[in-house]
C-alpha cells in the first residue's frame, strides 16, 4: 500500500470521531478545569481571575474544611488497602487452589460490583434503618439490645457505617483481578516448589504473591485512587452528613458546585483530586519498584 496523501487522510478519518470525543470530553476539560480554578465564578457573570486565592481558601477555610474530607478519604484508602485487599487476596489464593464450586464462588463474590451503587446504597440504608433495619433486628434477637444504634445518624458510627458497604462492594473486584493473576502462575513452578517440600503457606508467600506483584500494584492503585474519588455510596447514604461527619472531597465538590454555584472553587477541588490521584499512583509505583 502506498503512503500517499490519500492514505494519510484515511488514517485521519478513521481516528477523527474518537479524537473529537476524547479530546473534547476528556482532555480539553482538564485544562479548562485548571483555568477555572484560578477564578471566582458563579456561572452567570463572567469569571474573575483571582490567582491562587481558591487554593489558599480551600486549605484554610473552616467552613469547607477540606482536611476533614481528605482525612476521611485517606482513612477509607487505608482500610481499603489493609482490610479489603488483604481479604480479597486471601479469597483469591483459596479459589486458586481449586476448591469445590470455584466458579460459583467467583461469580457470587464478583456480583456486587455490577449492581448500581444507588441500589446498593438504598439497600444498606434499609439495612441500617434504626426501627426496621436488619442490623438492629439481628442485634435485638441476639439479645444485644444495647448495641443497637441509629447507625447513620450517630456521629460515632456513621463513618464506619458508610465505609462497610464501600469495602463490601469491591472485595469481589480485587479478588477477580488477583485470581486472574494467580491463574497465570505457571503450574510447573508450583509443582516444582511442592516437590521441594514447600507447604501451602510457603508456596503462597514465596512463589505466588511475588509472581502477581504487578496485579497487586494495580489493585493498590485502584483502591487508593478509588477511595480518594469515592462519591456514589456516600452521596446516597448520607450526602456528607450528619453535620459534615462523612464529607469526602467529591461530596464537597458537588455541593460547592451545584448548591452554592461556586464553579471556581469546585474546579479547585477537582484539580486537587486529579493531582492527588496522580501523585499517589506514582508513589505506589515507586514503592513496588523498590521492593523488586
Amino acid at each position: 500500500m502506498k503512503k500517499s496523501f490519500g492514505y494519510k487522510l484515511n488514517i485521519f478519518l478513521f481516528l477523527l470521531p474518537a479524537l473529537i470525543l476524547f479530546i473534547g470530553v476528556l482532555i480539553a476539560p482538564i485544562f479548562m478545569s485548571l483555568s477555572y480554578s484560578f477564578t471566582e465564578w458563579n456561572g452567570l457573570k463572567d469569571p474573575i481571575f483571582i490567582g491562587l486565592d481558591n487554593y489558599k481558601e480551600l486549605f484554610t477555610s473552616k467552613s469547607i474544611n477540606i482536611m476533614r474530607a481528605l482525612k476521611n478519604s485517606l482513612l477509607l484508602a487505608g482500610l481499603s488497602v489493609f482490610i479489603q485487599l488483604t481479604f480479597a487476596l486471601w479469597l483469591a489464593l483459596k479459589l486458586g487452589k481449586k476448591p469445590v464450586g470455584e466458579r460459583a464462588y467467583l461469580s457470587i463474590f464478583f456480583m456486587p460490583v455490577l449492581i448500581s451503587t444507588v441500589v446498593i446504597g438504598q439497600l444498606w440504608l434499609k439495612i441500617y434503618n434504626p426501627d426496621y433495619g436488619v442490623l438492629n433486628l439481628a442485634l435485638k434477637s441476639l439479645g444485644l439490645e444495647s448495641w443497637t444504634r441509629v447507625w447513620l445518624g450517630d456521629k460515632k458510627t456513621v463513618l464506619w457505617a458508610c465505609f462497610v458497604p464501600i469495602l463490601w462492594q469491591y472485595v469481589g473486584y480485587h479478588m477477580l483481578l488477583m485470581y486472574a493473576g494467580i491463574k497465570g502462575v505457571p503450574t510447573e513452578l508450583c509443582e516444582a516448589a511442592m516437590l521441594d517440600g514447600c507447604t501451602e503457606g510457603q508456596l503462597n508467600r514465596y512463589i505466588i504473591i511475588p509472581y502477581i506483584k504487578p496485579i497487586l500494584r494495580v489493585s493498590v492503585i485502584f483502591a487508593v485512587t478509588g477511595s480518594l474519588k469515592s462519591f456514589d455510596l456516600i452521596y446516597v447514604l448520607t450526602n456528607g452528613g450528619p453535620n459534615h461527619a462523612t464529607e469526602v472531597p467529591s461530596t464537597l465538590m458537588i455541593n460547592l458546585l451545584f448548591l452554592r454555584n461556586r464553579y471556581g472553587m469546585g474546579s479547585t477541588i477537582a484539580v486537587m483530586l486529579i493531582v492527588l490521584c496522580f501523585v499517589f499512583a506514582l508513589l505506589i509505583n515507586l514503592v513496588f519498584k523498590e521492593e523488586k
Binding site: K8, M111, Y235, A270
Partner: protein, 289 residues
Amino acid sequence: MNAQNKQAIDSAPKKKGIVRKIAVYAVLIFWAFVSLFPVYWMLTFSLKNNAEIFGENVIGLPKYWVWENYTRALGVGNMPRYFVNSIVVTVATILITLVTSVMASYALTRLKWKGSKTMNKFFMLGLTIPIHASIVPLYTTLAKVSMLNTYWALIIPYSAFSLAMGILISIGFMGDIPYDLDEAAFLDGCGVWGIFFRVIVPLMTPAVATVGIYTFLQCWNELMFANVFISRDVLKTLPVGIQSLSGQYTTEWGPIGAALSLATIPTLLVYVFLSKQIQESFIAGAVKG
C-alpha cells in the same frame, strides 16, 4: 517408636489439614452469603406486604406474594420513563462507543503509520482520567449550548469515557484477525475502507459483545453525571430516578423494593448469561490501565 505412636504423629497434621479445609470452606460460604444477602433481601421484600417487612417475616421468603408491589412501582413517579431513558442512553452510548472505537482501533493497528503507538498510549490515558476532571467544563459547556436536560448530555460524555476501554478491547480482538485477509482483499482491489467494511467489521462480532456489555454496565449504573446534567424528572435515568423515588416514598418499602429490583434485574440477567465475558472485560481493563 511403636506403631500407635507413629500413627498419632502421622494423623496429627492430617487432622489439622482437614480442620483448616473446613475453616476455609466456612469462610467462603460465609462470604458468599454476605455477598448475596442484600440482593436476596431486596428480591424478597419487593414481594412482601408491610406487615411482613416490618416485623412478622423480615428475612424469610414472602408468605403472600404481593406482585402488586411491581405494578405499583411502575405506577409511582415516572418509573417507566426512567427505564426507557436508561435504555435509550445506554443503547446510543454502546453504538457510538462501538463505531468510534472499532474505527480508531483499525487505524491504530491495521494501517501503518508513524506515531500509531504514541496515539494508542494517548487513548489509554482515558482509563485513568477521573470523571471529576470533566464535570464543571462539561456542565458549563452543555449549559451554553442548551444541551443540559437532553439525552445527548449523557450519551456524549458516557461514550467518551467508554472509548478507551472500547479501543483496548477492540485492539485485542483485531489482533486475532490474520493480516493475510487484508492483503487478499487488497489484491482483490479493496481500499482501506473496503478492507474495513468487508474484512474487519464482519469479524469483530465477539468484540461487539464484550465492548457492549462493559459499556452497558458503566452507563446503566452511572450516578454523578446523570445527577448533575439532568434535572427534569421525565429525562432522569434509573439511578437518579430511583434515588428521588426512594426519598419520596420512605415508608413504602414493598414498591421501592420492586423498583430497585426492576433496575437490577437486567444486570443480573446479563451476568447470569455472560459472566465469563464480563469478568474478562474487567480484568483486561485493569491489567492495561
